[in-house]
């Protein structure tokens, strides 16, 4: 809790620069750059602890909203180390903006180009060709998240819960929040 650091303006710039430089490497989602952030922030600079880094990711995964917010939490924890909530807020924003500015600029330009050229054979072939791949990726993601629980004897209720949620969402129009709430309740009472 009492881990504290001193950062100069140059350090803040360097930190912002690091997030900027990782932005365009984040193909497949921001989480793919987490290992390099860890190397820089925890190992090289020692601006935050290992536990702070890991819990930032876990909490952001569980919280509502895009998973990229784990980067804001990393920034927040780093800022707290440097001296309180104001620093935390500034640092969270620096980290998030650094991560977003390059990639969103590229996405903006690329998708406008794609839209202007949507009748081109290459653009149509890309979209048609990617469709089955995208669908398989979604199903695979669900599988990977479930398969992280490998102890079958102990974890089978979790697998069952995932399977039931899959079928219910696929086949009915029940509101997703009911299912998430049910999952939270079952978990809190130790049933899954």
């Amino acid at each position: 809790m009492t881990f504290s650091i001193q950062l100069t303006a140059v350090d803040w710039l360097a930190m912002f620069g690091h997030f900027l430089s990782l932005s365009l490497l984040a193909v497949g989602g921001a989480i793919t750059t987490a290992p390099d952030m860890h190397r820089y922030l925890v190992l090289d600079k020692a601006w935050m602890t290992d536990a702070q880094f890991v819990s930032s990711i876990a909490l952001a995964q569980a919280a509502p909203g895009p998973n990229v917010l784990f980067i804001a939490l990393i920034g927040w924890n780093l800022g707290l180390n440097a001296g309180g909530w104001a620093f935390g807020l500034m640092s969270a924003l620096l980290a998030l903006l650094g991560t977003l500015i390059p990639s969103t600029t590229l996405t903006f330009a690329a998708t406008r180009w794609g839209h202007r050229n949507r009748e081109r054979r290459s653009v149509r072939a890309f979209k048609q060709g990617m469709a089955p791949i995208v669908i398989a990726l979604l199903i695979a993601t669900g599988w990977v998240l479930t398969a992280a629980h490998t102890d079958t004897r102990h974890d089978w209720p979790l697998w069952l819960l995932t399977a039931v949620a899959t079928i219910v969402v696929w086949r009915t129009r029940i509101h997703l929040l009911w299912l998430l709430g049910l999952g939270a309740l079952l978990g809190a009472f130790g049933l899954v």
Partner: protein, 204 residues
């Protein structure tokens, strides 16, 4: 075998966001429902309920959002906002996706530092994680129907889908290589099929 229809471009979404304000709050609301990932909610809210996007548009946009660097759902919100209101829409949709969820996540970080070790808090996270995994898989299953109109033909689509599932879910290959590898073969096949279709159209 019957030729699939030439393009899904003929389908137009039956609805659109009414204003920038509508766009902002719609994205805020769907982001705040997205525990463990927002994608399932985007599909449910924007394709099924509000019908701002057709199922085919959603798949196409998601493919692009996946391939470009950056957080996928943020890229997706930017693309949807841009389509309806230009660059201002892109900014507003992204802001909706990020502003309130950011505040919530910071509030949770402050609150959770007190109860993080409590077993029922950890159990709740486990339970929600299991449901979230199901939501994502179901989103994929719902989109399978869109493959019927794909130019590559249903059998080729199943082939590509099966290979990608095995590579990612079972072999755990890196996403970038799977996308580049399977993506370029599928691109070549779709390119060829579009050419065949075009030639047939010209003869007819």
């Amino acid at each position: 075998m019957k030729a699939p229809p030439p393009s899904a471009a003929l389908q137009v979404p039956s609805n659109r966001p009414g204003s920038l304000r509508d766009l902002f709050w719609s994205f805020t609301w769907l982001a705040l429902q997205g525990f463990g990932g927002v994608l399932a909610v985007v599909q449910r809210e924007l394709v099924e309920r509000k019908q701002w996007l057709t199922r085919d548009e959603f798949i196409e946009d998601w493919a692009v959002a996946q391939l470009l660097p950056g957080p996928n759902v943020v890229n997706l919100s930017l693309m949807i906002g841009d389509r309806y209101f230009g660059w201002r829409g892109a900014m507003v949709a992204m802001a909706g996706m990020l502003c309130f969820p950011l505040l919530v996540v910071l509030a949770l970080a402050i609150a959770f530092s007190g109860v993080a070790g409590h077993p029922s808090a950890q159990g709740a996270l486990r339970g929600m994680g299991a449901v979230a995994a199901g939501l994502i898989a179901a989103t994929g299953l719902k989109l399978v129907g869109a493959l019927k109109s794909n130019v590559m033909g249903l059998r080729a689509c199943w082939g590509f889908a099966a290979c990608v599932f095995v590579a990612i879910a079972l072999l755990r290959w890196p996403l970038v290589w799977v996308l580049l590898g399977a993506g370029s073969v599928a691109f070549a096949w779709a390119w060829r099929q579009l050419g065949v279709l075009q030639a047939r159209g010209e003869r007819a």
